[in-house]
Amino acid sequence: MWDPAPTGPSRASPTPAVPGRREAVLTIPLPPIPRVAGTMTYGALAEIEGYDLAPDRTITVAVSGSGAVATAFLESVWTLIQERRLGRLRSVRTDERGRTVAVLSVHLPEDVELGHLLGSIAVVPARLGPATAEVRVLASPHEMQRLTVALEEEGLPPSAVVVERAVQPAEASELAPEDWAFLGLLVAIGAFEGRRVSTASAIAERLDLDPGYLAERIRTLGNGMRRLVAAVFQEPATPGPPSSDPTGPT
């Protein structure tokens, strides 16, 4: 069983609550994606269900879509990624809702700030269209400024920014955006389907991530989930028993 017991310092510790964070929605233009069929237009949206940004700058992203059009759209996206050697397609599966879910990993260059920044403030799911991405973020004014500059440097200046609401520091500290994103990634790869607990090592193998890093990440996520539920029901979040193995047998 997964034991979300508190642990010491983590390489994947959640982003500390940043005062003055607001929820905002950015519309970001995407580079042209070749149509798989000349006459096909993409009315349907795909969604980024989750992601994880590892310390070695590997970002692992789960993208889903329903129906033939979305599937064709996703195929053209990962074909483009592989052709340009931007990353690797880790897996493609059909989830219990019949959606196609693809998991990709991309190694971010050291000098690109955009991935690191988005990795800590973007809220999943993010919507992908043929020409734009709609990304929700929890960002302070300073983070928004950095993000806008980083997008412009990559030739992706946001065409619209809608600020929706202020985020309470306590709310943001229970589960940080990257924790929600990691949870989304675990769900997308089917880690919770069939009531069987996938071991950290099995998940690590599937995602080609370091098992130690992943186990730590899972513990961090479990702590955040515990704090969140306690906050909803206003109960003290009690630590679980210590455990050397965060997950049980598959």
Binding site: M1, W2, D3, P4, G50, E96, R97, V123, V124, P125, Q168, E171, E174, W180, L183, G184, L186, V187, A191, F192, R195, R196, V197, L221, G222, M225, L228, V229, A231, V232, F233, Q234, G240
Partner: protein, 237 residues
């Protein structure tokens, strides 16, 4: 609107009560409470179960809490309901029992959660909708549902539809966070939630676990709320 009652024992005569549980032992306590209520109202009772293990638990709980009702159980395999041209209808044995007790009987069949799938969910909801049109009546009917077995992506809709087609609802007391989060969806549609329950709904809204949506602005899990419930169902502690 559906009325929350603290226990199945308190389901009044004339009720069609939805009883949530999260384990077989909780289902047994729920059945025993329902039968204790029947005893208090002077109603005869019949309980159909499709599971021998649950039958043992029912018999133990009833022996402890209301031994006078020990002979009410029938072990009947399969889904209990029978198909007619008009849709699913109650087991013939239950229909005969209520017909024979025109002054009121308490009845329960526990098989639906065992056979419920994402594909047939709507069919069983249609049955519950039809059953609820039988009210007002003098009987008590109890429908146990395992809150942990509903497909998570359909849970928002299914839980509230279930609540809508029953007169009373008894929430599971299972402390599992996933169960408690899911039941907030029912609390939000009920006529008489406690102040603390309403506050929990508000805090879940603030944290983006649930949202108001659809034409009636009903409460539903957000995508991240769904993910949270999935993880908590798998890792309950």
């Amino acid at each position: 609107m559906t009325v929350l009652v603290p226990s199945t024992e308190e389901a009044p005569a004339g009720s069609h009560v939805l009883s949530f549980y999260a384990s077989d032992s909780e289902a047994a306590e729920s059945v025993a409470g329902f039968l204790r209520g029947a005893r208090g109202l002077g109603q005869p009772a019949i309980v159909l179960t499709s599971d021998a293990h649950r039958l043992n638990l029912y018999e133990s709980a009833v022996a402890r809490r209301v031994p006078q009702m020990a002979g009410v159980f029938r072990l009947v395999s399969g889904p209990h309901l029978h198909l007619t041209p008009e849709g699913l209808r109650p087991p013939e044995e239950v229909e005969a029992f209520t017909n024979a007790h025109a002054r009121g009987a308490s009845t329960c069949s526990d098989a639906i959660p065992d056979v419920l799938t994402r594909e047939n969910l709507d069919t069983y909801l249609e049955y519950e909708r039809w059953y609820d049109t039988l009210r007002p009546y003098v009987h008590r009917g109890m429908c146990p549902y395992d809150v942990t077995r509903l497909p998570v992506d359909l849970a928002s809709w299914a839980l509230q539809e279930l609540a809508d087609v029953h007169s009373h609802v008894v929430l599971s007391r299972d402390p599992s966070p996933a169960v408690q989060l899911l039941q907030l969806l029912v609390v939000a549609t009920a006529e008489n939630p406690a102040a603390a329950q309403r506050d929990s709904v508000d805090r879940a809204l603030t944290r983006g676990v649930v949202q108001r949506g659809g034409p009636n602005e009903r409460l539903e899990l957000t995508p991240r709320g769904e993910n949270l419930v999935r993880a908590l169902l798998t890792f309950p502690s």
